[in-house]
Point group: C2
Chain length 474, copies 2
């Protein structure tokens, strides 16, 4: 499949641009009807879509069926938010008589859709972060047309889902440009899309390298646009002595399952396990190693991810001060086996390469000797989608320090359970400091994801015909 030509990409963006004015003026009920019809159509096509997806991703029917349901849940959830209208809400400050600073005109603050959004689909969630995934649903709910850049890892599935979407858009009597798909395995297609003057924002889920390159393109435009990139994450898990002592065996098994879930191909896969120096921690490492050793994850999504995984684990094992605990022989072409290594906090803090994500079923144990070292190790990580603290049940000054450091480092801090599995809800925050997200004030999962595609406008002394209808002026 050759890349699409520049004129095909121009045509897709031109259609989105032509649809923008009418779609931005649509009401929440119209957008909700579109999103619900997309959810229905996606689930109705399950029997053709799942085999297509499995052939292209090796993720298996159970996971893929679950992912379709999650994707439909997201579409319906954003439909509810569009219909309900809080995201577009007016803050209406009445006029105050008198001189400034207290005196003021009437100001009504509304939120308007940005315009056509370029959405880069991810490889590892062929439904939930792909053609009709969370970014598309959020942008459509906000009132923005979407041009999806299909992920080359699942081209047939992408085309099939796009066909469904185009049919639904037509059936809803909306302008065809509300949804569009472009394809290309080379970088040129993505670059052209981000550079197009009518694109007003970019949503991206993928690699650090690809994301930072496209963000630079967005920043270098004559008129820069926001780039919402979710670029990967190392997801530290801190096992405090209380937890290691009380339920180390159970937690080690839970952690092993999380590290290998989906062959570690989740942005929330735990990559760092921090343990304080004590006997319970030693036992925890033994239990983790024993739990991981027999596990056989399924195949990785692509051969290049597989070779990157080997390169990453070899880099970890070869770093001075790092001891490999589980480093199974690599069999070319076969699914990978879990990898585990161990180091001390000083080595971890000094070696930048140890702080980088290894995408796949690998984890590095970092032994810390004090709360100060734990805080310093979290600071060295700098930015992560999640951080997990097990054993923080009791309040203490030390625990508070660690919790604050975890909150500085991550967008989601867990006190129970594992970071894999991201609930889609209002309180979710999927986006932490750089490099996990290019815009840590935003989230790419949960209902607040819609906020990315809306911009506030204050209407001063607006005429009655304009302000009055809640949240949707003209």
């Amino acid at each position: 499949m050759p890349d699409q030509s520049p004129s095909q990409i121009d045509a897709a963006v031109a259609a989105a641009s032509a649809a923008h004015d009418a779609y931005a003026a649509s009401d929440g009920a119209t957008r909700a009807a579109l999103l619900r019809a997309l959810a229905d159509a996606l689930q109705a096509a399950r029997d053709t879509l799942v085999p297509l997806a499995d052939a292209e991703t090796s993720l298996g029917a159970a996971r893929l069926n679950g992912e379709i349901d999650r994707t439909a849940f997201q579409l319906r959830g954003f439909a509810d938010r569009a219909a309900e209208g809080t995201a577009f809400a007016v803050i209406d400050d009445p006029a105050v008589a008198g001189a400034p600073p207290a005196g003021r005109p009437r100001l009504a603050r509304v939120r308007v859709p940005l315009g056509p959004v370029a959405m880069f689909a991810a490889s590892n969630f062929p439904f939930a972060f792909s053609v009709l995934g969370g970014d598309t649903a959020a942008a459509l709910a906000a009132g923005c047309p979407v041009v999806v850049k299909a992920h080359p890892g699942h081209p047939k599935l992408s085309r099939a889902v796009a066909e469904i979407a185009l049919g639904v858009v037509a059936a809803q009597d909306l302008p065809a440009g509300v949804f569009g798909l472009v394809e290309g395995a080379g970088v040129e297609v993505g670059v052209q899309l981000v550079q197009h003057p009518d694109i007003t924002a970019v949503a991206f889920t993928g690699s650090f390298r690809g994301g930072t390159a496209l963000q630079a393109v967005a920043n270098a435009r004559p008129r820069p646009i926001p780039f919402f990139g979710e670029l990967g994450s190392i997801n530290p898990v801190l096992v405090l002595p209380a937890a290691a002592t009380a339920r180390g065996g159970e937690l080690a098994a839970q952690l092993a399952a999380s590290i290998t879930m989906g062959c570690g191909q989740f942005c929330t896969s735990p990559g760092i396990v921090m343990l304080f120096d004590c006997a319970a921690s030693d036992a925890f490492v033994d239990a983790l190693q024993a739990a991981l050793a027999p596990l056989q994850p399924h195949a990785m999504l692509t051969p290049s991810m597989r070779s990157n995984f080997d390169a990453g684990t070899q880099r970890l094992a070869a770093t001075p001060g790092v001891t490999a605990l589980l480093a199974p022989e690599t069999v070319a072409g076969a699914a990978p086996r879990p990898f585990l290594a161990q180091t001390d906090a000083a080595t971890f803090i000094a070696a930048h390469t140890l702080q980088e994500e290894v995408f796949g079923p690998a984890a590095l144990v970092v032994r810390v000797r004090s709360v100060d070292e734990g805080v310093a190790a979290l600071r060295a990580i700098g930015g992560s989608l999640t951080a997990t603290l097990w054993g923080a049940d009791d309040d203490s000054a030390d625990t508070r320090r660690l919790v604050r450091a975890a909150m500085q480092c991550a967008g989601r801090v867990l006190f129970a359970g594992v970071p894999t599995g991201v609930a889609v809800t209002a309180a979710q925050q999927h986006g932490g400091p750089w490099p996990s997200s290019t815009r840590p004030e935003s989230t790419s999962v949960g209902w607040a994801a819609m906020d990315r595609f809306l911009r506030p406008v204050a209407l001063q002394d607006a005429p009655p015909w304009l302000v009055g209808q809640r949240g949707r002026p003209c």
Copy 2:
């Protein structure tokens, strides 16, 4: 006054960084007490500060006293918001039993302060957008220490206000690093500040050139940080035929006063006047010219602004297709006189230089022949802090198109009054699409300005000791 040395700047950021953990953990009442004490101290020092400011800026005692009151109003307003706590509020989603996607753990979404903020003071508001201006107040309310880069246009005033701030911080028993000041007329000081690894965000009000250069530095850091820049704006005013016919003379006088107010040195100064081709518009242009001709603004802030104003008006007058209506002789060293020119929409849309801000008392009349041309001219502007529509009182398809185009172009759309004068309130939006703002989803005026310095964190299954106190976990 030589620039501060790299070690002095390092020391200022190190102090802010040392203060961060404790200040971030402070409660809203503590921050409110600080902000109120700063407002009181600023107003109490009015008799020494106003003469200092007038000597350095030529803005006059009336304006400067008013600006002190506005600055105190802002500090007290942010104090109220810090005490009240909505900005830090928790969204608390209870756990839902069952399998995903509907089943989920308990998630509480809070907002945490980013960390030390570098704040670049503006020249044109020596109080309200300077050392203790809106950006400083918003960051302190959010729980972030602030390192202010003084504007070299008013160094003595900056030092005097910083002395007051340091005294108040000490009197409130807060760590000294909560507030710091650095100085330097060269670019090196600003660049070093933005590059410092402990700085977590930048707030900037100033020129397009300076702002884009510093934003590039923020983006090029090993860990990029948000750059909230307010870079200037051309502020179109559309006078629809209904308004030109009904009250053209009155509106022309109002507009002339707005163009020359503060010698046009406001980011919201009207730079474009759009008029439809009709007899009432011709009369409006005559009235505007007649109202501007006798006005004599006060001196500009600096000699370089004065020479930039001359260069800008000469550039406008020399553009083919542009007719100068008022282009008074320039007297070196004297205050400028108002400048007015006229062109047609096609010329305006084609000439990028006509779409650039001329800082000072200058405006360009753009004659449009149709709603299509009006929409195209607004699209050519692309981004502005404000857009004003006079005569949009009645609902019609044409008016709706123009209002939508104005909302796409600007962060604030006015239907009466003039854009100069920015109310400080919850509904205010001072930030439009590029180039008026680098982050048009944020505002630098009004209570929502605090949001820039907070980042959401979702707490999953948090222990009772941590979540429960509204909005301020540990």
